[in-house]
């Protein structure tokens, strides 16, 4: 989504009623984030909407993007938020070999998630298709990508080919570089 630098056309304040809806949607999507949602998104804080090309909305607090969303799809966290609260997001792990492809913006293929260096949840923790996941990497402490599962984690194990996770946001992409400038 952010292979190119993000060009925004200014920001607007989000009404508190809309802000409540966004909060609620985030909590529904990431139940583990609920205990800390007041730290991530303080109730009284003014959230800003930054419109990016191709129907992408960025939700920012004090000029730092915290979440983003394409059209009305799932809301996704900025990697910085995942780095702060890693335990609050469903996570899968890729092997070391996949890292450089991810950082180049490539889609995540199933074999990178099933090889010995990778980790997927056990069968009882199956994550369904469409889940927003953080991608960790073999030997690394912090996540390097945010994506959406193109098939359930059990199907990734079974099929083990094709695109497993859509690469929506990765370290060093346009969104990442946006406010470090």
């Amino acid at each position: 989504m952010f292979k190119k630098p993000v060009s925004s056309s200014g920001k607007t304040k989000i009404k508190s009623s809309v802000q409540r809806n966004i909060r609620q949607k985030i909590c529904e999507q990431f139940p583990l984030l609920e205990p800390v949602i007041d730290d991530v998104l303080p109730k009284k804080a003014q959230l800003d909407l930054i419109k990016a090309p191709e129907k992408i909305s960025l939700y920012a607090l004090d000029n730092q993007v915290l979440f983003f969303q394409h059209h009305n799809d799932a809301i996704m966290p900025h990697l910085r938020v995942v780095h702060k609260y890693p335990q609050c997001f469903p996570t899968v792990q890729v092997d070391r070999g996949a890292i450089r492809f991810i950082l180049g913006g490539a889609q995540l293929m199933c074999p990178g998630l099933t090889s010995p260096g990778a980790k997927l949840p056990p069968p009882e923790g199956n994550l369904p298709e469409g889940t927003v996941v953080a991608i960790n990497a073999e030997g690394k402490e912090h996540a390097c990508m945010i994506g959406v599962l193109k098939m359930s984690t059990e199907d990734i194990k079974k099929l083990n080919k094709g695109n497993g996770v859509e690469n929506c946001h990765y370290l060093g992409d346009g969104l990442w570089k946006m406010d470090s400038e």
Binding site: V36, Y85, C88, Q93, H142
Partner: protein
């Protein structure tokens, strides 16, 4: 947090337990690389590894030790096959070489580039100052215009010149002040800045 990261399940369990007991999870403080902006453990995949490593060593020596000690370097290849390692290393070396060349070119370009500060007489004794050429020094017009406005408490905006390029127009006669600011704050060599004057003919409304 341990280097072995991915105990996602266990961590998630901990968060759930924390939620049950009504206390919150403290946010992790993450260090980001001052050169490439990624978490330092990912610097090795970028094109500026050398600079990144130096930065880390002088700013976060312990983290540097953790990441670049010989044991760490030995164990980090993990489960990667030798063949895949070699391929990755080759590609990275290429990338880094390209980046070095790019930086050399850029440095050369910078040496020969000039920022022009032009004092323009608008009406009798009213001046604007127009700054152009800053893009060669990796400065962004919009950002610098804003900063000039704040610094000099005056109108400052990005305008298009006749050639279609960008320039900053600052309201007021601030040629010397801008020169000083470019040198002090933005680290531009004085040799790369030129001050010029353009006075409009009297009566030539503009």
């Amino acid at each position: 947090m341990e280097a072995e990261s991915s105990a996602a399940g266990a961590a998630a369990g901990a968060a759930a337990a924390a939620a049950d007991e009504g206390f919150t999870v403290a946010p992790l403080e993450v260090v980001y690389c001052g050169v490439c902006s990624l978490p330092p453990e990912y610097c090795e995949f970028g094109a500026t590894v050398k600079k990144c490593t130096d930065w880390l060593e002088s700013n976060h020596p312990r983290l540097h030790q953790n990441l670049y000690s010989s044991e760490a370097l030995e164990s980090k290849m993990g489960t990667m096959s030798l063949e895949a390692q070699q391929k990755a290393e080759k590609d990275l070396a290429k990338k880094q070489q390209k980046e070095e060349l790019r930086q050399e070119r850029e440095a050369a370009k910078k040496k020969s580039s000039v920022i022009i500060i032009k004092r323009v007489e608008r009406t009798k004794r009213k001046y604007v100052t127009v700054v152009s050429g800053i893009e060669a020094f990796e400065l962004v017009y919009k950002t610098v215009a804003k900063e000039f406005g704040k610094k000099f408490a005056c109108g400052s905006s990005v305008t298009k010149n006749a050639a279609g390029g960008e320039e900053i127009t600052v309201q007021g006669d601030l040629s010397d002040e801008i020169l000083e600011e470019l040198v002090d704050k933005y680290g531009i060599e004085e040799d790369n800045i030129r001050q010029v004057e353009e006075s409009k003919k009297k009566g030539g409304g503009g």
